[in-house]
């Protein structure tokens, strides 16, 4: 016993160093690519930094005061919320329907599952560029089909990305297209986690499809559902690719969201300080949202 207890000199040090060496790249990665920009953003948000000027003065909450007063910011905030909430609502309903449809085995189910996953696998930018063409004012296939069906005449066809409300609907549509696969996979996992005997017991107890869906399956899926909503909401709320590529915030800033406004103000408009303040504005909102979702998930935990 005494022999094995004695530590060989130097044996602990290499082990400790190995751990550090294995750990360091990820820590470095996080510090350099997430930590530093975040600290910089905080610094900028409380300063008067601008692109092309070396002047740097702390101005306190001045930036936040001014963006809160700007109508553009308030509109972008409202748009962000509208996009996130409506996209999530549509995604939850559609992915639930898809999960129910894909649950029972049928011929070609594997292939259909693969097709449904595709939008999630494709890079956001590529997918959005595809949608930009689908919704294009001249080459839109949707318009072409509607004209061919005599729903619209060629001269008064809708401009999908050119009219404020249609443009907002288009942005929501693309967000849904992108998030449904992810959400469907989570729902499928959630459904398959429910023991097969429970819906059967409900059927014997006399519950129909809707009662089983809303009083048995849905409550039992609450934890996993809230994870799906949390992830989806954060993806939508922080995403600027879709808006930037599809409409660049237009027409007339009607589809501007907080991330795209931050980019437009801070980089394109060279007001770094205001841009940083706009993007930092998201942080407390998202932290709060995450807190409440996780608490809901924890509370609803069953079994």
């Amino acid at each position: 016993m005494a022999v094995s207890d004695r530590r060989r000199p130097g044996a602990a040090a290499p082990k400790w160093m190995l751990g550090t060496a294995m750990f360091a790249p990820s820590v470095l990665y996080i510090i350099l690519l997430i930590g530093v920009p975040f600290v910089l953003a905080v610094l900028y948000a409380f300063s008067d930094a601008r692109i092309g000027s070396t002047g740097f003065h702390f101005v306190g909450f001045e930036n936040f005061r001014s963006i809160l007063q700007s109508p553009g910011f308030r509109k972008a905030l409202r748009n962000s919320i509208v996009f996130t909430v409506s996209a999530q609502a549509i995604v939850i309903v559609c992915s639930n329907i898809l999960a129910i449809a894909l649950e029972k085995p049928f011929r070609g189910r594997g292939f259909i599952r693969f097709l449904i996953l595709l939008p999630w696998v494709a890079p956001v930018s590529l997918g959005t560029i595809g949608w930009k063409w689908i919704l294009d004012s001249i080459y839109s296939v949707i318009t072409w089909v509607l004209v061919a069906l005599h729903v619209y005449k060629p001269y008064n066809a809708p401009m999908w990305l050119g009219e404020p409300h249609l443009a907002m609907a288009s942005v929501i549509l693309v967000h849904c297209w992108r998030l449904i696969p992810f959400s469907t996979v989570i729902m499928l996992a959630g459904r398959s986690a429910i023991s097969k005997e429970i819906p059967e017991a409900a059927a014997i107890d006399g519950a129909g499809f809707w009662r089983t869906a809303f009083q048995i399956n849905l409550p039992m899926m609450t934890p996993i559902l809230s994870v799906a909503v949390l992830f989806g909401a954060i993806f939508t709320f922080t995403d600027m690719t879709v808006v930037y590529i599809l409409t660049a915030g237009g027409p007339f800033d009607s589809t501007q969201t907080l991330p795209s406004l931050a980019f437009a103000t801070g980089i394109a408009g060279s007001d770094l300080a205001a841009g940083a303040a706009i993007s930092l504005f998201l942080v407390p909102v998202l932290v709060l949202a995450a807190y409440f979702m996780l608490r809901l998930a924890h509370r609803a935990e069953v079994v």
Binding site: S195, E197, I198, E200, A201, A202, A203, I204, D205, G206, A207, G208, R211, Q215, I216, P219, M220, T222, A300, V302, V303
Partner: protein, 362 residues
């Protein structure tokens, strides 16, 4: 209350394969406790699920209370089922679990509390109503599942191995409780199990199944004492019936009917009037080469092989009360005997019971 009947019921899961249930026709009696007994894969659960309406039969008919219910959904069959896992709704309290069938079947809300309390009281779980299923022990969960089943007063109870998740001690008391419960409610009950002790103890009649087919239907005494074929003979009883074969016939006898001749000598000492019920003879003497012996407390199981005669070398088992302290030396040959009355004869090719015949043992 109702009678359940199946007519030529068959379920084939994969086309071309042997059915999970093959041509099963049976009828329960009114208020009967009928047990489906069989090894795993014997089709007993599939048969129960078809009666419940969770599985669609490939062919055949199911009748509950005299009318064909093949096309009715589970909710329209007026049945209640207790699952092996109990399948309680984990997000609902015990009260809401028990009230769920009432809610689902549109029972007016003001009657819920009374009915739930009646069912909970019957099973002694009145104090658990506000708990969630995860806060209950296995035995308590099983009672909640039963309460949920009886609350809407179904025509038929279906129970799918409801005791298999309980530990051995709890199982015995739950078994007794279930019997008492059935006695007081009197609803026709179909009970699926692979445990022969449960089946023997609880069943009014037992349906013995194997490979999707009914091998025998009868009271516990009938299936144990007069097994219809070699499967039933060896599935029931522990250790199972001794089967020794010769030519076209298989001879079977229960281990408890196979004992040392010295026991007979002891019986001879019993005064004649008390021996009247013990007219077992004539006896067939059999030499047993003792292999090894298991001492199980209340009984002794002696393993060995027959010595001499046409059945020489066949392995057989004797089950003796441990009040018999006679020692057996391993490897030695001892004089055993079996009553001719307890010999069963089976056809070697079909395994079915055949007429008794005289067999030369020496």
């Amino acid at each position: 209350m109702a009678i359940v009947e199946t007519r030529h019921l068959t379920k084939v899961f994969k086309q071309g394969e042997l059915g999970a249930v093959n041509d099963v026709s049976l009828t329960t009696h009114e208020g009967e406790f009928l047990v489906f007994l069989g090894p795993s894969g014997s089709g007993k659960t599939t048969l129960l699920r078809m009666i419940a309406g969770l599985e669609t039969p490939t062919s055949g008919e199911i009748l509950i209370g005299g009318s064909v219910v093949n096309r009715l959904s589970p909710r329209e069959r007026r049945i209640a089922m207790v699952f092996q896992s109990y399948a309680l709704y984990p997000h609902l309290t015990v009260y809401k679990n028990i009230a769920f069938p009432l809610k689902a079947q549109g029972v007016p809300k003001d009657q819920h509390r009374k009915k739930v309390e009646w069912a909970a009281g019957l099973l002694g779980i009145g104090r658990l109503l506000e708990r969630k299923p995860r806060e209950l022990s296995g035995g308590e969960r099983q009672r909640v599942a039963l309460a949920r089943a009886i609350v809407r007063e179904p025509a038929v109870f279906l129970l799918d191995e409801p005791l298999s998740n309980l530990d051995a001690k709890l199982r015995a008391s739950a078994r007794e409780e279930l019997e008492r419960f059935h006695g007081s409610v009197g609803t026709t009950t179909i009970y699926v199990t692979h445990d022969q002790v449960e089946a023997m103890a609880m069943g009014d009649r037992i349906v013995v199944m194997n490979f999707g087919e009914v091998r025998q239907i009868g009271t516990p005494a009938e299936v144990y004492d007069e097994p219809a074929d070699t499967f039933v003979a060896t599935f029931l009883g522990s250790p199972p019936m001794n089967l020794v074969e010769r030519d076209e016939v298989i001879v079977g006898f229960r281990p408890e009917h196979f004992f040392p001749v010295s026991v007979l000598a002891g019986r001879a000492a019993i005064p004649e009037p008390m021996r009247a019920a013990d007219r077992e003879g004539p006896y067939v003497p059999v030499g047993l080469r003792v292999g090894h012996e298991e001492y199980l407390g209340a009984e002794r199981i002696v393993y060995g092989s027959i010595e001499g005669g046409p059945f020489h070398g066949k392995t057989v088992v004797s089950r003796l009360a441990s009040t018999l302290t006679l020692p057996f030396d391993a490897g030695g040959v001892h004089a055993f005997a079996v009553s001719e009355r307890h010999l069963k004869f089976y056809d070697r090719s079909s395994g079915k019971r055949t007429t008794p015949r005289s067999v030369a043992w020496r």
